[in-house]
Symmetry: C3
């Protein structure tokens, strides 16, 4: 069994953003030499997500509006977590809706994807250097 | 390490449905010959889910009502994504709540499940031929 | 390829709770002898979650309030599932938001975590003996 590990680093200037990281995951897969196996890609921070969906600007706008409705940033003082000096309680909720991680099949040396699947880093509390972990196992 | 890959195809006639795919995943596991390992089952389309819950008709009704409340289909024009000519923006949201994929342990050649766990394909934008990927790795 | 399996048992006295199970997962990892690989930790019951987030009391309070708003327990009779004699339909929904499982990378014999990642068992329908499955594969 082969295994391979790589970190991707991000610093999103605003509070929230969605970044397509599919090319970086494909790079890691090539570097691993794995032909059949699994890729795990996960946010290493608890106010960010890794998820799979469509690379369509309108949809990303809709996600932003929808997540803000499900878990509003304001009023900041409505969250007990923010009494610790943080203002990011909403980000911990948004991340649960969108998920921490994806597991993707590797078949014949490629990400085994349907026609529109793309991997995104979802940032919900930007302005900090944060990481995604890629772990690949297989043969 | 063994690996095995299989696609399941679906065409749901209505807009939304939940289909129990546990027997098909069990078939794939038998075909793989894997005794100890992991099964990944994921929707290959971004308006569908694979998830694990109860095979109870009342619960599926409740999920339908609840998801429609969290991410309503109408008004279609309220979503920027639908300006591309689609009417399925809500399906991209429902799929995030229910999840893209499940990873299930394989122990002694069987899906290592608790008493009520069953695997479902969740369709949120039917009327198209769509796929689930099953990828099995182990020994 | 090595594999290792362990069950964790819980009986939460109240209806809902979040329990940090990171030490038990670390114990299982040590017992497995796996140095490079993946850990799957999943709820074996469909009204409970395994998820990764912060071990901060205020945040757990906020999750409790937020999940109750997204999927209220009352009125119990509003859910068709509860016509089966259950009163836990809301728990099936809360579990979907928080997720069934996590997959964590194992690198150099350790859980490959960012600075604040901790693994939790989320109980949404307590008062019963319930299990988490830990499955480890790797080398």
């Amino acid at each position: 069994m082969k295994s391979y590990r790589k970190e991707l680093w991000f610093e999103v200037p605003g509070r929230r953003a969605f970044l397509n990281i599919t090319p970086q995951v494909e790079d890691a897969l090539r570097e691993s030499g794995v032909i059949e196996g699994l890729v795990l890609a996960n946010a290493m921070h608890i106010t960010a997500s890794v998820f799979i969906n469509d690379d369509e600007r309108g949809l990303h706008h809709d996600y932003e509006v929808w997540l803000e409705k499900l878990a509003p940033h304001e009023p900041v003082a409505s969250y007990h977590h923010n009494r610790t000096g943080e203002d990011n309680a909403d980000a911990h909720m948004k991340r649960q809706v969108m998920g921490r991680e994806v597991v993707v099949a590797i078949s014949s040396g490629r990400l085994d994807f349907g026609p529109w699947e793309q991997i995104f880093y979802g940032e919900f509390d930007g302005g900090h250097r944060k990481r995604v972990l890629i772990k690949i196992i297989g043969e």
